[in-house]
Amino acid sequence: MKLALKRRFTCSFFLLLLLAAACNPQDTPGALAHQQGKLYIVTTTGILADAVTNVVGDRAVVTALMGPGVDPHLYKAALGDLQTLREADVILYNGLHLEGKMGEVLQKLARQKVVWAAAEGLPENLLRRTPEFQDSHDPHIWFDVSLWSRVVEHVSRKLQQQDPQNGAYYQQNTQRYRAQLDSLHQWTKEQIASIPAQQRILITAHDAFGYFGSAYQIQVRGLQGISTVSEFGLQDVSSLVNFIVDRKVKAVFVESSVSQKAIEAVLEGCRQKGHAVKLGGTLYSDALGDSQGPAGTYAGMVQVNVGKIVKALR
């Protein structure tokens, strides 16, 4: 009896090992890219992958580790990510602690591989930070389209050095894309300016829209701090409710990668004070939308966000 059990035990263990061995990946996107003589570029967020794709077109293969709708603050790595990073010719991450510990690992990896932080392309004086702390920059740099355009330029210049053969092509793409971003920046400015000044208040679940606020002259209030783990305080809710009622704010917003619960407490509080505030919709903050949908690209995401904000606040 005991022996039979032991045998069954070992058998199932070896079966497990066999299964694991049988499922080794062979044709990874990285291997395919190298076969075609293309650069394989791996980014952390989908927003970065979109920027790189606009620069390299189809002359390099771009992969993002984090899929649509994933909160980069809370991302958990899969074992396949290690393989992907190993195969990458170029690794691009956002920096400024957006990726948390993973950013630290990538920063160290720069000693052996080509690793760039997108935020390095911006001078320190353009970054937002709390005055008390040195090391506390707001990582959500993509919300100011003109800043993001500078990031694209920085990444493009690096890519041209890395892949001089396609340099001219990359430069051409970059100029075209930056022209698009410039008109997107102007459009966003005009759209937000079309909201009457006293109604220009953007209230969201967590503090991601700081750059958006300062670039497009709209006051931003978040219920939570930048970290999505810190709980909101009761006083945060009640002071936000008072603020909404005082300023007669028409709508508040939720975010695609943060829970709705917090902002619902605020809605309820306003209702009790007799001020009807509506939900302006879901804004994309830390991740792109579904790749097939309108918010699947960076430009699309900005348009969708601005459209929702203007419609709800005007």
Binding site: N24, L98, Q134, S227
Partner: protein
């Protein structure tokens, strides 16, 4: 097996041995969840370290976390002894209180900074092979974590083998240990000091869930298989090593989280021991009962 697989499994095995050895003593003291408690209690340490230094650099965070880890175990013992509440209640009160303190500190002082264990302390075992220790001359000495955990393991092995008798007696029979002149409090604090330093070092290398799982699962499995503490220590270390190797391949197969897969294998090991254990298992117990039922 490629070199990445080797480093990941080795890291998993090192964490497994460290955690399961300490876990055996914790289980005997009915304090198995101390690892989980420490994983929460380090939050105020991280926040204070940031407030004092203004940086989120690894070593700063580690020092803050280690201090709070030790403080947490001291408070647990203090409430347990002085307020005379049971150990589990004392653990629960202490770590929730410390975690709450951390959250209050964040929302009062550092609401605009992304600061929590997940983003500044907990490591990811899948990235262990990327974080190498390079010397000034560029010599590759292998992953940094393997060195740190290897060092922790050597210290632990020395500690347990030199003071096995003291740890054994104070865990099993505190009254007798006190009668022959051993200080139960001193050995408690030494053990807990080892626990908090090991857990914090392991959190930084491989993340929290794996550490908590390895501290409870393998010792509980070994507990079902033997009544001898020496065998229990050995068996739980072996169970932990098997789990880290099998978990790696499970994660490879599923393309999932390594820590999650190892923890899942630990659960399966425990279930197997629960069903098949020769002394405490479900089957053997039924076999022993059968003749009585028939007769």
């Amino acid at each position: 097996m490629n070199i990445d697989a080797f480093w990941i499994i080795l890291t998993g095995a090192l964490v497994a041995i460290c955690c399961s050895l300490l876990g055996c003593f914790l289980i005997l003291r009915r304090m198995a969840m101390v690892g989980d408690a420490i994983s929460h209690a380090v939050l105020p340490g991280i926040v204070l370290a940031f407030l004092f230094s203004g940086s989120r650099e690894v070593w700063t965070m580690l020092i803050g976390a280690a201090l709070l880890g030790v403080a947490c175990t001291f408070l647990i013992e203090f409430f347990h002894k002085k307020a005379n509440v049971s150990a589990d209640a004392s653990i629960g009160v202490t770590f929730t209180w410390l975690f709450a303190l951390g959250i209050i500190l964040i929302s009062v002082f550092a609401g605009k900074v992304d600061l929590d264990q997940d983003c500044v302390l907990y490591g990811e075992i899948a990235y262990v092979p990327l974080d190498l220790w390079l010397t000034q001359s560029g010599l590759n000495l292998g992953p940094r974590t393997v060195w740190i955990l290897g060092g922790v393991l050597v210290v632990l092995l020395l500690f347990i083998s030199l003071f096995y008798k003291q740890l054994y007696l104070t865990s099993f029979d505190p009254a007798f240990a006190a009668a022959i002149g051993l200080s139960t409090t001193l050995w408690y604090y030494l053990l807990m000091g080892a626990v908090s330093l090991t857990t914090v070092a392991a959190f930084e290398s491989v993340g929290a869930i794996l550490v908590v799982a390895l501290m409870v699962g393998p010792p509980a499995t070994a507990y079902l298989l033997t009544d001898d503490l020496k065998k229990m220590l050995l068996l739980s270390a072996v169970a932990g090593i098997i789990a880290s190797a099998a978990g790696y391949y499970l994660a490879l197969w599923l393309n999932g989280s390594v820590a999650g897969a190892i923890s899942a294998v630990i659960g399966i090991e425990f279930l197997l021991a629960f069903v098949f254990s020769p002394s405490h298992g479900l089957l053997s117990r039924r076999r022993q009962l059968m003749p009585v039922a028939n007769g």
